[in-house]
């Protein structure tokens, strides 16, 4: 059949448009190519950055066609600013950071989180001197070792003594909206030690109003050095910086966050809302890679953990000694030197739906922000829910997880049922002070605490 070159050209053009439509239709069902392929992710030197390191080292990012550079950041502020100004495409973040940024406490920007990174993983460490002073107040068990969990009741007389002597009792936490800040406050307040209020509407963001213990910010990797220098008497930080204190012989971890609130949500992966809208395929793909990494980390009862520790010990990731990192990552935790106890769930990366971004987790952080005055006025329960929905994005997570299930890379039973999941965990017990948390009733929850702002209270 003879067709003139000109007509042939037209035909070809039509054909290619048609085939393009076909191809893109097919891809919409699968998953589109990433719009942005070269990404830079930030992290802070903590073991719970593991999903990012593993997704890189196991090639999960590359499997998604993503070429990721991973950069350690100096502190949480620098990291958050990096994500906001675009120097970083995404980062290992404190759960409170996307929430606080979105509601405008501190730096204001709309950050979202499609992926929770882990559960638990923090501890509170005090200096040797404080530990010696606390010890007489702690009951001992049969073998002469202290009974766990150790409550802040044991610390209270020590703090009172320091205050009576006119010495400020300083403690370190990593960031005003960090899990560590809220956990340390929770623990102290449960023992009757007032950790102080914030009053941002009056420009007071030190968080030391009415405080018995003065909390201030220190970057995680510097915690042991600051404790050693005597600037602070204790701190709350993620691993390996509690175990580091034991190894260096400069302090004693007294309580883990697992004991303060069993299986509490920890870090999240944060990106800007703009990024997620501009690069939807990239977003879903990076979540896929992170889910696979989290699965790998918890696979076969933590079988891969030793290998993960080896990777984390590299100087470009966490960089601490293998033994220090291994302590917590492989399910044991050393309190006082020689007092090593089993904590199999100290670091949870995938089990118990650890990676699913629950609205109720976001709301818990919001309740603590209100409790300590970072949110200066009352908010309605609806506001809490609406804010959580703005920041936590289980929809993106579900898309990513579903595509992994469809490709046979994951099992449906390891995930919540995406059709029925409301995003609210059942009322949670297992807090050190036995209060129950129900994410659907945040105001009722805040009312219960003896120490903390009450409804209608404005500083």
């Amino acid at each position: 059949m003879f067709v003139s070159p000109r007509i042939r050209k037209h035909l070809l053009a039509c054909l290619s448009v048609f085939s393009f439509l076909l191809v893109s239709a097919a891809q919409a069902e699968e998953l589109g190519w990433p719009e942005k392929e070269e990404l830079t992710f930030g992290f802070i030197k903590l073991t719970d950055m593991a999903p990012i390191a593993i997704a890189y080292e196991q090639g999960y990012f590359e499997d998604e066609g993503l070429y990721v550079t991973i950069e350690a950041q100096a502190n949480w502020k620098v990291l958050l600013d990096g994500v906001i100004d675009g120097r970083l495409d995404g980062a290992h973040m404190l759960a409170g950071q996307p929430i606080a940024a979105t509601i405008g406490f501190g730096t204001s920007a709309h950050i979202i989180t499609p992926f929770s990174m882990d559960l638990n993983g923090n501890g509170i460490t005090v200096s040797n001197e404080i530990w010696e002073a606390m010890k007489p107040n702690i009951p001992t068990q049969g073998d002469g070792k202290p009974v766990h969990p150790i409550k802040a009741d044991a610390l209270k007389p020590v703090v009172d003594e320091y205050r009576a002597d006119g010495k400020p009792f300083n403690m370190g936490m990593v960031f005003p909206v960090s899990t560590h800040n809220y956990e340390l406050r929770y623990w102290l307040a449960a023992g009757g030690i007032h950790p102080g209020y914030y009053a941002p509407h009056r420009g007071d963001i030190t968080g030391q109003i009415d405080a018995d213990a003065l909390l201030s910010v220190t970057p995680p990797p510097q915690m042991p050095a600051t404790l050693e220098a005597g600037t602070i008497y204790g701190y709350c930080v993620g691993e390996p910086w509690n175990q580091q204190a034991v190894f260096k012989g400069i302090g004693v971890p007294v309580v883990t966050d697992y004991e303060i609130w069993k299986n509490n949500p920890e870090k999240v992966f944060g990106i800007t809302k703009e990024f997620a809208e501009k690069y939807p395929n990239t977003t879903v793909r990076l979540v896929r890679a992170l889910i696979r990494a989290a699965m790998w980390l918890d696979e076969n009862d933590n079988a891969n953990r030793p290998e993960a520790v080896k990777i984390l010990a590299q100087s470009n990731y966490v960089g601490a000694d293998y033994d220090v990192i291994a302590n917590s990552m492989t399910g044991t935790f050393e309190y006082e030197k020689g007092d090593k106890r089993e904590v199999p769930d100290f670091n949870v990366f995938f089990r118990y739906n650890a990676t699913y971004p629950y609205y109720s987790d976001a709301i818990w952080y919001l309740t603590q922000m209100r409790r300590w005055g970072q949110i200066s006025e009352d908010k309605s329960d609806d506001w809490y829910k609406a804010t959580a929905e703005k920041v936590y994005r289980p929809d993106i997570y579900a898309t990513a997880a579903q595509s992994l299930i469809d490709e046979g890379l994951a099992n449906a039973e390891d995930f919540p049922n995406f059709d029925t999941e409301t995003g609210f965990r059942k009322p949670q017990t297992h807090f050190i002070d036995n209060f129950v948390y129900d994410g659907t009733k945040p105001n009722e929850y805040i009312e219960q605490f003896p120490i903390g702002l009450k409804q209608g209270q404005v500083l």
């Binding site: 190519w33 030197k45 590359e62 990797p221 050693e228 012989g249 010990a313 590299q314 100087s315 960089g319």
Partner: protein, 330 residues
């Protein structure tokens, strides 16, 4: 007077032959340097074993020496990983082109970590770039100030105040300005590079301006008179008379400046976490592993050696360019 000559004078000599004297004159300095280094190593290792830190003993020379080997091994391992990365990437690109013919494959740079050797190169490159830019501004400015008394008086207070500003004060300003002004989607230079480079430049500008100006202002009157007699125009006067006459002082400024450039850069990299040796040191400090101290010391030694090499390089350049060889002794 250097130590070698001092030593020679102190030694009683028994009429040595000329050859002997020659040999002694050449070997003695080398021998003395070696003794100095050996003495230093002995003091270091004995002091090190007596200092205990929370990260274990302070590393001695042998620990640092092993660390150099390890750092090199890490470098090689990372290079091998990089190669594998490129291979995988090519394969992935090919696969994608097969599925998606419109795709224009692109090779992306290796995403792994910068090794110690990479960091050294980054630092040297950044310091030199900052220094060169500073020289390009400082030397013409210095000549202008040296030639014009009124300009000199006008500029003096500004320069005197800007000169002692610490790099740590410049850095936040530079960082904010760069991220505010330099906003391209496809940047040719990394912002971190620009931040470090500009900070270095700002700090090593002033010694060069001041020394050049002084050098130019204090030219021998006779030379100026020669220029007048030959009735050279302003440009010729500067090029033929002023510049050659002030070369020794310009180089003094440049040597001061390159030393400052190097010191400032390490501090800037540490503070801003910009890639380079400063970041390497800070990262290791944060890692707090049992090898951190020896790695930091290894980096410190490299920093020292490079600083020394830069200074010697500048001296060699001065010897090459200056008519007055005696001005460039050490």
């Amino acid at each position: 007077m250097n130590t070698a000559t001092l030593f020679k004078r102190a030694m009683p000599m028994s009429t040595p032959s000329r050859l002997q004297r020659e040999i002694r004159a050449r070997t003695l300095p080398v021998l003395l340097s070696l003794i100095g280094i050996a003495g230093f190593l002995v003091i270091w290792s004995s002091a090190a074993s007596n200092i205990t830190t929370s990260l274990g003993n302070f590393p001695g020379p042998s620990a640092v020496y092993t660390q150099f080997g390890k750092l090199y091994e890490e470098h090689k391992a990372e290079r091998a990983k990089a190669e594998a990365f490129y291979e995988r990437q090519e394969k992935r690109n090919a696969d994608r082109v097969a599925k998606d013919p419109d795709y224009v494959p692109k090779i992306r740079a290796y995403t792994g970590k910068e090794t110690f050797l990479d960091q050294i190169w980054t630092s040297v490159y950044t310091a030199l770039t900052g220094f060169v830019f500073a020289a390009l501004i400082a030397i013409p400015l210095g000549i202008a100030i040296g030639l014009s008394r009124s300009l000199s008086i006008a500029m003096n207070p500004v320069i005197q105040v800007l000169k002692p500003i610490s790099p740590l004060a410049w850095l936040p300003l530079v960082t904010m300005v760069v991220s505010g002004v330099y906003t391209t989607t496809d940047p040719m230079f990394a912002k971190s590079f620009l931040n470090s480079m500009i900070t270095v430049m700002l700090c090593c500008l002033w010694p060069m301006v001041i020394n050049t100006a002084v050098g130019v202002a204090s030219i021998d009157k006779d030379l100026v008179n020669v220029s007048r007699v030959l009735s050279l125009n302003a440009l010729q006067h500067t090029w033929r008379i002023v510049l050659p006459a002030s070369v020794p002082m310009i180089f003094t400024g440049m040597r001061l400046a390159i030393g400052i450039a190097w010191m400032v850069l390490i501090a800037a990299e540490m503070l801003a976490q910009n890639p380079g040796l400063g970041k390497f040191v800070w990262d290791e400090f944060q890692n707090g592993s049992s090898e951190s101290l020896s790695r930091i010391l290894a980096a410190a030694i490299v920093i020292g050696l490079i600083g020394f090499a830069l200074d010697r390089g500048m001296l060699a350049l001065q010897r090459l360019l200056s008519w007055d060889k005696s001005s460039a002794t050490r």
